[in-house]
């Protein structure tokens, strides 16, 4: 018999707000977090894409100067979101050895790496910061959280591109099923709005090029979508066994009912157009949740606004939900936030949890001209979500053929 796992704390810093409450309010308000990048390096390197979902609140406004100095921007977002989630959970008194971290990033400390290389070239090896290695390593954000909150039950980092933080939540689910751990902080972060990643994603024609209309650029399911919009930030969930949460009288947002990963083994970047790997991940997650497709009353889609990606996910959804699909409200919140890569899954997990908890599905913006090949009930203004014992799922897929899905149940 699987243990029941519950969500007891949420934290996020995103292009829509510096915390969960502000982010959620702006999401429900149909706001876009996508803006022009006002940095000299855009012109210096002639970066072809000049906009992104930049963090609404700079990390330097929250953390101390010493924390900023010793943490890569990705770890800064991680720490901000984890502290918010932990406080939201009531800063529980936990046994450190039974407390773990599952925290991801897609790219890692790319700012640190590239600035260190610049220092090496311009000023020589002695001026390369001694903190460079711990700052650039992809497990740095998870380690920073683990140190800050004193988690001694294991700190792990799943790295699977844009599926990373959904995979982290799935890993947390599995870890909590063992008898080793009571509480996990799970999530992901990304801070890759830098000339090189922007140029590299643009080189593969993955990014929208709507430089003249940033807030309209992320448009999942729209016939005129032309790529994703890079975003940055961090998001954290406090997950614990129901037994542990009830014993301490915690507020419970939702049940984490399951989480699974599969892989396509099809192409290094393109999704399998048949969507079979993505479908398997959804079905495995529902099986873990002890649920059927008719229990699913909401889907937070991966839907990045790329021409092929949105279609491939739609195909996978059809495989899983069949005739039921048109009756399930779907939202694509990357339309507002942009694509936070390794943080995307955790941000969207929070949106999925809040939809169940608050009884309202957040809207998809910029869907002016729906793709005639996609037949989904896309929510374009906040919609009531009612029912008992209902499930909502959140999908994430990543370069490398990674598919990760998590399911939450109303509590």
């Amino acid at each position: 018999m699987a243990k029941k796992i519950v969500v007891t704390g949420l934290g996020a810093t995103t292009p829509l707000g510096g915390d969960v409450a502000t982010t959620w309010k702006n999401l429900l308000g149909g706001k876009s977090g996508i803006t022009t990048i006002d940095k000299d390096w855009i012109e210096k390197y002639e970066v072809p894409v000049t906009f992104a979902g930049q963090a609404a609140v700079a990390a330097s406004e929250i953390l101390t100067p010493q924390e900023i100095k010793r943490l890569d921007p990705s770890s800064q977002f991680a720490l901000i979101s984890a502290r918010e989630a932990w406080a939201d959970a009531g800063s529980p008194d936990v046994t450190p050895e039974r407390f773990a971290v599952e925290y991801s990033t897609g790219i890692g400390g790319v700012w640190t790496l590239l600035e260190a290389f610049q220092t090496l070239q311009e000023r020589g090896p002695r001026r390369v910061l001694p903190m460079t290695v711990p700052m650039l390593m992809p497990n740095g954000p998870a380690a920073a959280i683990g140190m800050d909150l004193a988690a001694r039950g294991g700190v792990r980092t799943a790295v699977s591109a844009c599926a990373s933080s959904t995979e982290a939540i799935a890993n947390a689910y599995n870890r909590l099923q063992t008898d080793e751990i009571d509480v996990v902080v799970a999530g992901g972060c990304e801070a890759a709005i830098h000339a090189l990643p922007l140029s590299a994603f643009a080189a593969m024609h993955a990014l929208s090029k709507r430089n003249d209309a940033p807030s309209k650029a992320s448009r999942p399911y729209d016939a005129n979508r032309d790529g994703f919009v890079m975003g940055e930030g961090g998001a954290s969930l406090v997950l614990e066994t129901e037994e542990h949460a009830l014993a301490r009288g915690a507020k419970i947002y939702a049940e984490l009912a399951g989480g699974s990963v599969t892989s396509d083994a099809y192409h290094i970047t393109a999704p399998d157009p048949q969507g079979s790997g993505a479908a398997r991940a959804m079905l495995a997650t529902l099986a873990q949740a002890g649920a059927t497709i008719s229990d699913v009353r909401h889907i937070n889609a991966h839907a990045t606004s790329t021409p092929v990606g949105d279609i491939a996910e739609y195909t996978a959804l059809k495989r899983v939900f069949g005739d039921l699909l048109p009756s399930i409200p779907v939202t694509a919140t990357k339309s507002s936030t942009g694509h936070l890569l390794g943080a995307a899954g955790a941000v969207e997990a929070i949106f999925t949890i809040l939809a169940l908890h608050g009884g309202v599905i957040p809207p998809t913006i910029n869907l002016d001209d729906p793709d005639p090949d996609i037949h989904l009930d896309v929510v374009t203004s906040p919609r009531e979500l009612t029912g008992d014992n209902i499930l909502a799922i959140s999908n994430s897929f990543g370069f490398g053929g990674h598919n990760a899905v998590v399911a939450f149940r109303k509590y």
Binding site: T64, P65, Q66, K69, R126, R127, L129, P130, M131, P134
Partner: protein, 81 residues
């Protein structure tokens, strides 16, 4: 022309404060970097490099292990300047 001890101490205190957040007043000649100020070896290397830049001296890596107290560092910089 050697720098004044007080000048070096003040400059070093600023560098330590910038790197670690430790108050400049706490950076006294008799304080041990590790035992009193809780400065780890990674921060120490950053402080050393910043001292080299600020005071125009060279502090060889093999010398760093001898700089146990703030006074050790100040005296080394004064004599090297």
């Amino acid at each position: 022309m050697a720098l004044a001890q007080s000048e070096v101490l003040a400059g070093l205190a600023e560098i330590v404060n910038d790197e670690t957040g430790i108050a400049t007043e706490a950076v006294q000649l008799d304080k041990h970097f590790t035992n009193d100020l809780d400065i780890d070896s990674i921060s120490m290397m950053t402080i050393v490099v910043n001292c080299e830049d600020k005071f125009g001296v060279k502090i060889p890596d093999e010398e760093v292990k001898n700089l146990n107290t703030v006074g050790d560092a100040v005296n080394f910089i004064v004599s090297a300047s």
